[in-house]
Amino acid sequence: MTTTCRWEAAESPSAAPGTPPPPAPERGTGATGRSRRRRGWALLIFAAIVVSAVAAGIGREQVIKSEGAGSLFDFFAAAASPRLDADFLALTGTAMLTTLAYAVLGTALSLVIGLIGGILTSQAWWESGVRTRRGRRLAGWGLARAVLVVPRGIHEVVWGLFFLVVFGIDPIVAVLAIGIPFGAVTAKVFSELLDETGRRPYTALVAAGSSKWSAMLYGLLPPALPDLISYGFYRFECAIRSAAILGLVGAGGLGFQLALSFQTLRYPEIWTLLFALILLSVAADYWSSLVRSARARGRQRSRDGGGVRRDPLLTASLVFGAVLIGLSSWWIGLDIAVLWSGKAWEFGIQLLSDAWPPSVGDTGFGGLLMLAGVTLAMSIVAITIAFALGAVFAVPASTPAQGRDHIERGAMARIGRTTAMLASRFVLVVLRAIPPPVWALLLLFVMYPGILPGAIALAIYTTGVLGRLMAESVDNLDARPLRAIRSTGASASKVFCYGVIPAAAPRFVAYGLYRWEVTIRETVVVGVVGAGGLGLLLQHQISAFNYAGALTTLAMLILLTLVVDITSAAIRRSVR
């Protein structure tokens, strides 16, 4: 499943857009300068982790609520007896379909935005034509890129809160809240896909007097489309989780039911809903990885000169997806007429005029900076824990065989290895199926509200995602050097230390940094359930109708994510 890795990397918001990766800065050329720079980063990272841990209150404040252990135990005990009567199952089923419908329609919208936005932000679009001046072309391209930065920097939940104010409780809220930020990310990935595609057929059509849109349609889209569609399935997988989180803030579906059951602490109900969420998430994961691995094989085949062939699985999935879109909009009663209803516009304009000019509020700028620091600390603690746990799970979760494992061992060992793989994969999928705010709510049984429960909630969820990415990168290791080490008579553990770790470590670090960029955005989500930082402040400001303050906080958040993106890109460059 090379595809995930490719995209996770392409998606990383800071990768230089569309241009070839910038050459590593040639400061202190040669191996010594490189290793000195790496050592510098390592020191800095270590210091950041220590500072963040202290800031998060580890070992300083009392964080554990011992009296909550009993209720946590009750909670887990209830897992064996979820509420399964017909009424509640019907309710769960309905909620499940609603969440699914949000995810489907949100993904569909994001694909439309991504397709058009991707074309308009591709270099192929701006560089063709006979006479347009270079300066104007660059300006157009840069402007199109810049327009997409803001929707990408704002988390789905914030979009959700905004649209809730504008439209009230309406299915369109979830669709827009997922579709807009996902669409901006898709546009970026898709413009890169388009620019990787050979441009000669497209240029030839433009030379024959075709309009740019027609030339795109015939010359550039057909080769790039399968990749876009299979990327769409990856987004769909993410959209299921987003749809659930949006439910928590009031958009309906599984998340909404979860929030209700949490308020009344009905554990058996919570478990029924969680099982439904896990089921949905696993199904989406499975479908998406099926489509994407088929696509990866197709790409491999065409690289090997086997010619391009239609992919039946992709076509079937596409047809099924189209049917799902139709059913989904019927199920949630989507009515896009609300988009141009006068009332929504009135609310929207009212909100924006309330928000302008942004105000710093009573905490002052210093207070805002401090909260930004807290948010940063939360993300660093979260990613540190997730990185360690993810690496621990990744090795057993990787596929056995391929010359690096216990092939020549007995049947028992092989069964043990397979069991370990299935078990750790199952753990990872459960960890990422349950959204971070739900983990945070669970942690609040045994912890006092604060940064730490938020950080741990994010860490648990991120472990699920990161562990899978890392396992895939172990799967994709070149097997030849491992076989060479094995042929010297080295034991499996030696092969692991000398072959697997050195080869996989740089990728692990790259994924860790990439997920750090995602995590800083997700701090908003746990902030919403009271875990501190800028997210909590934003939630307070929005519920107090203090939109001017919320706008400032939002700007601060975008700035913070930008700083994290740039830092992460710099570290990744030095690791590469």
């Binding site: 006479r131 240029t203 030839a204 024959a208 007097g209 075709s210 027609s214 015939y218 391009v308």
Partner: protein, 254 residues
């Protein structure tokens, strides 16, 4: 039709410090068949690019079918481009599409966008496509995926695409360079036949000097971005041709 199809007046193209073409004067009259020869890197492909409007001249005047490429509005330029068909060395077909779509791509300049989009689902003007494919000898490949065809067949698809474009001028950039010599001769004579049949002007860049001297009435020698000679085939001497490649040959053996 007394006005020239192309008129290049002191045309130069440079990329930064590199000069690809310098002070090129060239006039193409309707019905002419011209071969451009010269060593690799002489600027042949750049010249084709200037003629079909994908490469902007950095100096001089380019007039194509009465349209000034440097000043005319984009709409006018597209109108001229529509009447100039180009066949490329590497075919420039979309391998993922069926042959019928790749041929129809030649019509995109005259089709509105909706028709182009619709045609991908329900191919339009199939009769015309079939006639063009029949003419180039692969009428049975209408619904094949283009990527599955052989190199020679793909070049025939590219020619069929130019045929449905119905141009007054065909530009061919090394049309036979990437297929074997026997297929190459077939394709070349097909091109000459087609241009004679329809009275279409033909200008071809060729690496194969014998082919150029054997079949074209007018030969233009290009070297280091400048025109070395521009003569009727009958007036051209072997010495002039040898001189064109002299530098290349002198440096080759090392």
């Amino acid at each position: 039709m007394s006005s020239p199809i192309f008129a290049l007046d002191g045309v130069g193209v440079s990329y930064g410090k590199n000069t690809a073409l310098a002070r090129v004067d060239l006039t193409v009259e309707p019905g002419e068949r011209i071969a451009i020869i010269g060593p690799s890197g002489a600027g042949k492909s750049t010249l084709i690019g200037v003629l079909n409007g994908t490469v902007a001249a950095t100096s001089g005047e380019v007039t194509a079918l009465g349209c000034d490429y440097r000043r005319a509005p984009a709409r006018e330029i597209r109108k001229s481009q529509r009447r100039v068909g180009t066949i490329h060395q590497r075919f420039d077909l979309v391998e993922q599409l069926r042959t019928v779509h790749n041929v129809n791509a030649g019509r995109l300049g005259s089709w509105p966008f909706w028709k182009a989009a619709l045609s991908l689902l329900l191919p339009r003007d199939v009769q015309r496509v079939r006639a063009a494919l029949d003419r180039v000898g692969i009428g049975d490949k209408l619904h094949h995926r283009t990527g599955d065809l052989s190199g020679g067949e793909q070049q025939r698809v590219a020619i069929a695409r130019v045929l449905v474009q119905d141009p007054v001028m065909i530009l061919a950039d090394e049309p036979v360079a990437s297929i074997d010599p026997a297929r190459g001769r077939e394709i070349m004579s097909l091109l000459l036949e087609l241009s004679a049949e329809a009275g279409v002007t033909l200008l071809a860049c060729l690496h194969d000097v014998d082919m150029a001297l054997g079949s074209f009435e007018r030969v233009v020698g290009l070297r280091a971005g400048q025109i070395a000679f521009d003569k009727k085939r009958a007036d051209l001497t072997d010495d002039e041709v040898d001189a064109l490649y002299a530098f290349e040959r002198a440096t080759e053996p090392r």
